[in-house]
């Protein structure tokens, strides 16, 4: 016997919502999904009338759904936002070049302006070149640090007021777990925030309108809407530790589907002892980007690449910052430790 939609009670249900367990028909699912994102945007006061908002677009399911939903909601509820797509080209052959093609198609489908910033133009290095020097290990560190800054730089070039990213509930829950496992208190404190203010993570405020949307529902939404998205894993080594957290989260979700929201709830309600040291935000003395050290992470990584010492930015080498700033050579012993491991 076909199950009827628990919302309209008429049409046949096509899916069971992973988030609540209700069976819904296609139309009701679209409506509730969009409505929930709208509720998140309104209750968290993510946008103001007339703002220019860049959508961090990778061509993947999350950012494609985000771009689609934001465009729909912007028209439906008259947010008065000027939306545009912002993509980062890491320079990964066989991965990013293909996904950027998707973004370019999205640009036409949604009629939104698109800006692509590439690692090559910003840093003079593509990820392919970095991996050639660094190897398969630790290259995610470079990519992650550079992407964060690349998005900000792109956003500043476009003079946008806000960046929104496609992080979903699964991503947030996974980050809570991972930061907890790593004991990273300052990130644990920040990671559940739906938006960052300018003194937080980057220079341009960021927000996650899909923070409470389950990954599974995003996939279903993209599937039923027949959205054009790109789904391939990055060809370079995935982050092993995050992989553990992800696998654990999936198992938890299988046992109790609400676990994802429960973890976010936990993260939102954690509070920390007074007097736990938090890094003080400052700015990088070389590029001016926000940094808790004298040099920002991406400048250190870049310096390491340019000096042929890729490990300079991996781990903690704050003591060497003075030497880097003064353009002094490192001692032989220091150099030996920071060279790429021989294979």
């Amino acid at each position: 016997m076909p199950v009827t939609c628990s919302c309209c009670g008429e049409k046949r249900a096509v899916l069971k919502r992973p988030k609540t367990g209700h069976s819904l028909c296609k139309e009701c699912f679209f409506r509730t999904f969009e409505e929930e994102v709208h509720q998140t945007i309104v209750s968290a006061k993510l946008f103001n009338q007339g703002e220019t908002v860049a959508i961090g677009a990778s061509g993947g399911k999350d950012s494609t759904v985000l771009a689609h939903v934001l465009k729909v909601l912007n028209e439906r509820y008259d947010y008065g936002l000027k939306l545009l797509l912002l993509s980062v080209d890491e320079g990964i052959t066989g991965y990013r070049d293909d996904s950027l093609e998707t973004v370019k198609r999205n640009q036409q489908q949604y009629e939104l302006p698109l800006k692509i910033v590439s690692y090559e133009e910003l840093y003079g290095w593509t990820m392919d070149a970095i991996v050639k020097q660094v190897g398969m290990k630790n290259n995610c560190t470079f990519c992650g640090v550079f992407r964060r800054q690349a998005l900000d730089r792109g956003a500043m070039m476009l003079k946008v007021d806000k960046i929104c990213t496609g992080h979903n509930a699964d991503d947030v829950a996974e980050t809570v777990l991972m930061n907890f496992l790593r004991g990273d208190i300052s990130r644990l404190r920040r990671c559940t925030a739906i938006s960052t203010t300018s003194e937080g993570e980057g220079l341009v405020p960021r927000c996650k309108p899909l923070k409470y949307a389950y990954e599974k529902e995003i996939v279903l939404y993209a599937y039923f809407k027949k959205l054009d998205y790109f789904s391939t894993e990055c060809i370079y080594s995935p982050n092993a530790y995050r992989g553990h957290a992800r696998a654990f989260l999936k198992d938890l979700e299988a046992i109790r589907p609400s676990a994802i929201m429960d973890i976010i709830h936990s993260g939102e309600n954690l509070s920390f002892r007074e007097g736990v040291k938090m890094p003080m935000p400052g700015s990088c003395s070389r590029c001016g980007y926000i940094s808790s050290q004298t040099l920002c992470k991406s400048c250190v990584l870049l310096e390491g690449l340019n000096r042929g010492l890729p490990k300079l930015g991996i781990g903690k080498h704050h003591r060497l910052h003075g030497k880097i700033l003064a353009q002094q050579p490192l001692s032989e012993q220091e150099e030996r430790r920071l060279k790429a491991a021989d294979f």
């Binding site: 628990s6 919302c7 309209c8 009670g9 919502r17 988030k19 609540t20 209700h22 819904l24 009701c28 409506r31 509730t32 409505e35 929930e36 709208h38 509720q39 998140t40 309104v42 209750s43 968290a44 809570v176 777990l177 907890f180 496992l181 790593r182 004991g183 208190i185 644990l188 739906i194 409470y212 530790y241 553990h244 654990f248 198992d251 938890l252 299988a254 046992i255 109790r256 609400s258 676990a259 929201m261 429960d262 973890i263 976010i264 709830h265 936990s266 993260g267 939102e268 309600n269 954690l270 509070s271 920390f272 002892r273 007074e274 736990v276």
Partner: protein
């Protein structure tokens, strides 16, 4: 009454430094000597159940070394959960007789309490007692003065607070040492209770919560002001991570801290939290500490049977790949503190969870995981309303609506000011109950087929709070 506090601080100081501890792991001869030292505080310790079974036992004090002698007389509380797990009467009797042998050798008072006793608990166990000490300097001084006076009058043993006895004078006082077997009715009720819980995750959570109530009651009856539990850092790491997954983030510090003040008059302390389960196992082996194995709810269960179980498996595996996992998690927990300090809840006694007695974490603002979930549930089952609830004031409408679906903490008083849309009242029985619970306890109760099987004291106290 607080003299025991003093003793604990002594214990903490006598802890071996991490460096000497490392040495002792490396060299076997050294280890024995150092362990004896660290063991001074707990000259004799019971580790029941070698397979990480939850057993709440009271650690033993009184060293042979007179200079560090502990000056309190401990008692042992053992909760026999056989009825909840479904063990036969013979199995339970066998375990208890083994335990009694061990307990008798200690010559300390002991209380073997069948889990069935939860059906005879008074509702007062869930009431918030007046806070006896606010940990200020003056109260500390008072406690010290009280202690020295106690010594002089020679009543240091299990010093009972006379005012505490007043609290209990109205209750029916039972002698736990009567060792009456639990009545068949209660065993049946216990079976029904656990059968009505649909998931192992919720079963484990409920067992733990109700057991604490029982221990709390026994402790109050016997006049104990501290409950020591044997949580090791390995177990606490599992508890921390599973608590996160169960939505207990707000209560994390209380659940796992060195001292847990949520019951006000009885404080739960975890003196073993600096030791790993491995160290404890070694200690027990070297000193031939007797132990008894007894199965628990998840014994023999598959790895993915419950969230708690999954977390344990996950952490054990992660620990082998990344050996610092447990200690990192454990150190993270030390940087946490309770979201809503219990002292402040004095003015609003209703703002505590009915079951776990932690401050309610359900009064979150509009942009929160709780609110988003309620919103999703509401949107998924309300037809025809279209966009109206959203369009008509997004900040106020959902609040009123959700209180009818699951009960918002904000409308504990009921009614909710008339504008409440009385749509789907799915769970008329438990929606009232839900309002009295914290986020995580709601999840547990949600996994129950019926709340009619809950022990009477929970229902009575819920009614009392609702009337307030």
């Amino acid at each position: 009454m607080c003299q025991v506090d003093e003793e604990y601080s002594g214990l903490i100081r006598s802890k071996p430094s991490p460096i000497s501890y490392k040495k002792c792991v490396k060299c076997k001869h050294g280890s024995a000597v150092l362990t004896i030292r660290s063991g001074d505080g707990f000259s004799f310790k019971l580790q029941l159940g070698p397979f990480e079974q939850y057993f709440y036992f009271v650690l033993q004090g009184l060293s042979h070394d007179a200079s560090k002698k502990l000056r309190f007389i401990p008692g042992i509380i053992y909760v026999d959960e056989g009825g909840a797990i479904g063990l036969s009467t013979e199995e339970r009797k066998k375990t208890i007789s083994q335990l009694e042998d061990i307990f008798q050798n200690t010559s300390y008072p002991y209380h073997i309490v069948p889990f069935e006793e939860i059906f005879r608990l008074p509702a007062s166990v869930l009431e918030t007692m007046r806070p006896t000490s606010d940990h200020s300097v003056s109260s500390y001084k008072w406690a010290v003065a009280q202690f020295t006076q106690d010594i002089r009058t020679g009543q240091s043993r299990e010093s009972r607070d006379p005012s505490l006895e007043d609290c209990f004078s109205g209750l029916d006082t039972r002698d736990w040492s009567q060792k009456l077997p639990p009545s068949a009715d209660h065993t049946e009720a216990l079976k029904l209770l656990f059968a009505s819980v649909k998931t192992l995750t919720a079963k484990e959570d409920l067992l733990q919560t109700l057991r604490l109530h029982l221990i709390l009651y026994v402790a109050r009856q016997a006049g104990y002001t501290k409950i020591m539990v044997g949580d090791s850092c390995s177990r606490l790491a599992v508890k921390l991570l599973s608590s996160i997954a169960l939505g207990r983030g707000a209560a994390l510090a209380m659940d796992t801290g060195f001292s847990d003040p949520r019951y006000d008059d009885v404080i739960i302390v975890r003196p073993m939290r600096d030791y790993s389960s491995k160290e404890i196992a070694f200690y027990n082996r070297m000193f031939s500490v007797p132990s008894v194995f007894s199965p628990s709810l998840d014994t023999m269960a598959p790895d993915k049977a419950s969230i708690q179980r999954l977390t344990e498996t996950f952490l054990t595996k992660l620990q082998t790949d990344f050996p610092s996992t447990v200690s990192t998690i454990y150190r993270t927990s030390e940087k946490l503190h309770t979201a809503h300090p219990p002292q402040s809840s004095d003015a609003h006694p209703a703002a505590r969870c009915l079951l776990c007695l932690c401050a309610l974490d359900t009064t979150a603002d509009d942009c929160s995981a709780l609110h988003a979930t309620l919103q999703s549930e509401w949107l998924s089952q309300n037809r025809g309303r279209g966009n109206s609830p959203v369009a008509s004031g997004p900040n106020s409408a959902p609040d009123q609506c959700c209180s009818s679906v699951r009960g918002c903490a904000t409308s504990v008083g009921g009614g909710g000011g008339g504008s409440c849309c009385s749509s789907s009242n799915q769970m008329p029985v438990s929606s009232d109950l839900m309002a009295l619970l914290c986020y995580s306890c709601r999840l547990t109760i949600k996994d129950m087929a019926t709340v009619a099987t809950l022990p009477q004291y929970v229902v009575t106290e819920a009614d009392r709070r609702k009337r307030r």
